[in-house]
Amino acid sequence: MYAYRCLTLFVLMISLVHCTSKEDAEKAAKTSPSPVEAAEEQPEVHGTPVGAITLTNPLNKEWVAQGQAIYDTKCLACHKLDATRIVGPGWKDVTTRRKPEWVMNMITNVEMMLETDEEAQKLLEQCLVRMPNQNITQAEARSIYEFMRSNDGEK
């Protein structure tokens, strides 16, 4: 089983390395117009990098509530609110461990993170299940982060 997992992970890593970057894809799209692009041009909320986030106090209550609702449907299956890891890490103290843009990029732009971010790569090695794309917008990811802050005791 162990060998098998390693192999899977290896394959996963290789495929990550071979992923073309966005610029490459754009370049290819410009040079060879074909039906291929059409499918790739479908609007998808996933895949746009999140820049630096400025946090405000007190917490935005509306965002906290919205974040919790999304958590219940799309995150809870893998992330506990305490420190225990089930599929992914528990969320306790995540807001002190990670910057808000790091968390939001993990939610909305996991491809980029697994390609470029060492911490994200380490997590994949530990968890063995890729952080899934749960089709969450940046605004929704922001509200989830607000919920995480609330979970960590911020007011």
């Binding site: 499918a39 893998c78 599929v87």
Partner: protein, 668 residues
């Protein structure tokens, strides 16, 4: 197949050797048939997409299969009329209603012809339609989800072969009867002697309305017609858009040994129907209401479930009662016409008499003139028959043996398949001259040019769907794969490029540019929009509810666990419904769900969808359940247990995920 061989024999016998101008049944020089650059023209590099989707009927498998062209790579099988255990189609509680009919649950059919939706005669990439030949049905398949969304049964019909071809703007799909029979009026199939055919048997063609927004179908009206066999049909386009043309055989009205008795007459008919006038009369309330029973099944991808409704009424129009309105005309057509195809301009109608020595081409303008002049050669069962010479554009002379179907390239050429002489023949529509012919391996049935039946063919290739495979592939015992072949038609001469195997037994197929379809492809269903009554939108909603003997499991799946994954308190005599919601929201992450020893099937649940597997435990014990679709590195860990206790036991109903017994405490 046997039947067709006999037909060939009959054809050869009747037509004699004069027609043997083309290669015989098994063409020679197979090795040299492929020329130099064929590989380059069909090679689609890894990671690249094909240029066309080829939507192919499955024949006796009751499905549709989808191939990429020019590679011939199979992309997908879409279950339509047949149960499909691999994803639970027709087994899951949500999809069982799709296969309901007035005969009850009919989990199979014989699907022959594809019709892709058109707007102004051109492909619009919205839906594919396919006919169920056996239990008369038409299905509509979404080209966004590649799923069957709707199946409607056709009342007063037997053998829905002349179907589901569409009018120019997909106003109607057509359903014409292969078997005439005593009609279903009032739900009672009259108990009459079979040899009273001429007196009691009727044919019908039904116009199935299609809602231009939703695609929803309804049986708008049907025409009651003489008891002949309707074989194939095409709507007019452009100037002939208000008309529909049907090939008719067995105008002899034989009810036994048709291969001989339905091949007596020198000419059968192409029937021309002015559907626009029929529609007007129906709208004016001139039709008769009849009591019938037919099922109408609709799948909703918000509720992720199908419903089946039994409808009880149909509007019937008898064209004999409206002779002055000119609804229906027959045109003589040599010997048992099969294909009946209209060219891209709508000016010409090609009839392919499968036992005929010529291909007659009818002129729409001449048909209109003959109708205006009442240039009849007589009446058939009370309906006018136009004079052959008056409506004929001309005949393609000595084209080959056994012409079946014709497609068009939009450059003025027609391509006709010849079953008996096993070839495709290219001819000029205006001059009727044969300009090229290529052998097919072997015995071609239908053929398809991308956009070939539309007002705007995309050309480039013609694909042959052959009936005999013989030595084309590695042998696999008595039953061989079906063989499709693709030819380059971009130059003056057709060139064989590729053989590719197909599943089921394809009859007709259409090909459509990928650019019209792929941008609309659905990647997943939004969990927020899931309205399934048993959905668990998040693990907090996972639970087990007992309602008498029914146990409802609201289960979630995500990489890589189920919630709940331990269930106790199920008892013998219970019916367990696993309602599995896939919480994933990413493309290409379905989960499977399977129960050991399930007499039903497994199910595949798409991201955001809820799907239900019914399971009736057959023994006491602990039964494993697991995911059947490799979903992650921990897919093998995606499993759980259901404890089944004897009937009447007092094991309480409980469920959990991730609960482990406390250290030192023995579990019960």
């Amino acid at each position: 197949m046997k039947f067709q061989h006999l037909t060939i024999l009959a054809a050869v016998f009747i037509l004699g050797p004069v027609l043997l101008t083309s290669p015989g049944c098994k063409p020679k020089n197979i090795g040299s048939a492929v020329e130099g650059d064929a590989a380059g023209k069909t090679y689609v590099a890894p990671g690249k997409y094909d240029e066309f989707y080829n939507i192919v009927s499955g024949g006796f498998n009751g499905q549709i299969s989808v191939y990429g062209i020019p590679s011939g790579r199979m992309l997908r099988i879409i279950p339509v009329f047949s149960q499909f255990a691999e994803n639970g189609w027709g087994y899951s509680e949500e999809t069982k209603p799709m296969l309901n009919t007035s005969h009850g649950f009919v989990p199979w059919d014989d699907s022959h012809h594809i019709a892709l939706s058109t707007t102004k005669g051109e492909h619009d990439g919205r839906w594919a339609f396919v006919n169920g030949n056996n239990t008369p049905r038409i299905a509509r398949i979404s080209l966004s989800t590649f799923r069957t969304e709707e199946i409607i049964e056709i009342p007063n019909s037997s053998g829905n072969h002349s179907s589901p071809f569409l009018t120019e703007n997909s106003e109607y799909a057509i359903a014409g009867t292969r078997f005439s029979y005593p009609m279903d009026n009032d739900g009672a199939n009259p108990d009459v002697s079979i040899n009273s055919y001429k007196e009691n048997f009727k044919g019908t063609v039904s116009f199935i309305g299609i809602n231009p927004e939703s695609g929803r179908m309804n049986v708008a009206f049907q025409l009651i017609l003489p008891g002949v066999n309707f074989d194939l049909s095409r709507a007019g386009k452009g100037k002939s858009r208000d008309w529909f043309f049907f090939s008719c055989y067995n105008t002899e009205q034989a009810n036994t040994l048709l291969e001989v008795n339905a091949s007596q007459k020198d000419k059968d008919f192409i029937m021309a129907v002015n559907w626009k006038k029929c529609e007007e009369l129906v709208k004016a309330g001139k039709g008769q209401k009849q009591k019938v029973r037919y099922a109408h099944n609709v799948y909703d991808d918000k509720v992720h479930s199908a419903t089946s409704t039994i409808e009880t009424e149909v509007i019937v129009l008898d064209p004999k009662q409206f002779i002055d309105q000119g609804l229906v005309y027959f045109m003589p057509c040599p010997k048992s016409p099969h294909g009946c195809d209209t060219d891209p301009t709508g000016s010409y109608i090609v009839g392919s008499g499968k036992l005929a020595a010529v291909i007659p081409v009818f002129s729409f303008d001449k048909i209109q003139k003959a109708i205006a002049d009442k240039n009849y050669e007589g009446m058939y069962d009370g309906l006018p028959v136009l004079k052959y010479d008056a409506v004929l554009h001309g005949e393609v002379k000595r084209p080959g043996l056994g012409p079946l179907h014709t497609e068009f390239d939009g450059k003025g050429f027609a391509y006709t398949s010849f079953f008996v002489s096993s070839e495709i023949v290219k001819w000029n529509i205006e001059t009727l001259e044969v300009v090229d012919r290529v052998p097919t391996y072997y015995s071609i049935g239908h053929l398809s040019i991308p956009g070939g039946p539309t007002a705007k063919p995309h050309g480039k290739y013609v694909i042959a769907y052959n009936k005999i495979t013989k030595d084309r592939y590695l042998p696999t015992g008595p039953e061989l794969t079906q063989s499709a072949q693709m030819y380059d038609i971009s130059g003056d001469k057709m060139k064989l490029l590729l053989d590719f195997p197909t599943v089921g037994e394809p009859h007709y197929a259409e090909a459509i540019p990928a650019s019209l379809v792929s941008p609309k492809s659905v990647k997943m269903f939004k969990i927020e929009e899931n309205q399934h009554p048993y959905a668990a939108k998040g693990e907090k909603e996972a639970k087990v509810v007992r309602e008498g003997k029914k146990v409802h499991v609201y289960m979630t799946s995500i990489r890589s666990h189920f919630a709940p994954d331990n269930i106790e308190g199920v008892k013998m005599g219970d019916e367990v419904y696993f309602h599995v919601t896939n919480l994933e929201q990413d493309w290409d992450v379905p989960h499977g769900f399977a129960v050991k020893g399930s007499n039903n099937a497994e199910i595949l649940i798409m991201p955001g969808e809820t799907c239900t597997l019914k399971w009736v435990p057959d023994r006491v014990g602990v039964i494993p359940v697991y995911c059947t679709d490799f979903c992650s590195a921990l897919h093998q860990e995606m499993q759980g247990y259901v404890r089944v206790s004897p009937a009447g036991s007092n094991v309480p109903l409980k469920w959990s995920t991730g609960e482990t017994p406390e250290a030192g405490l023995p579990s019960k």
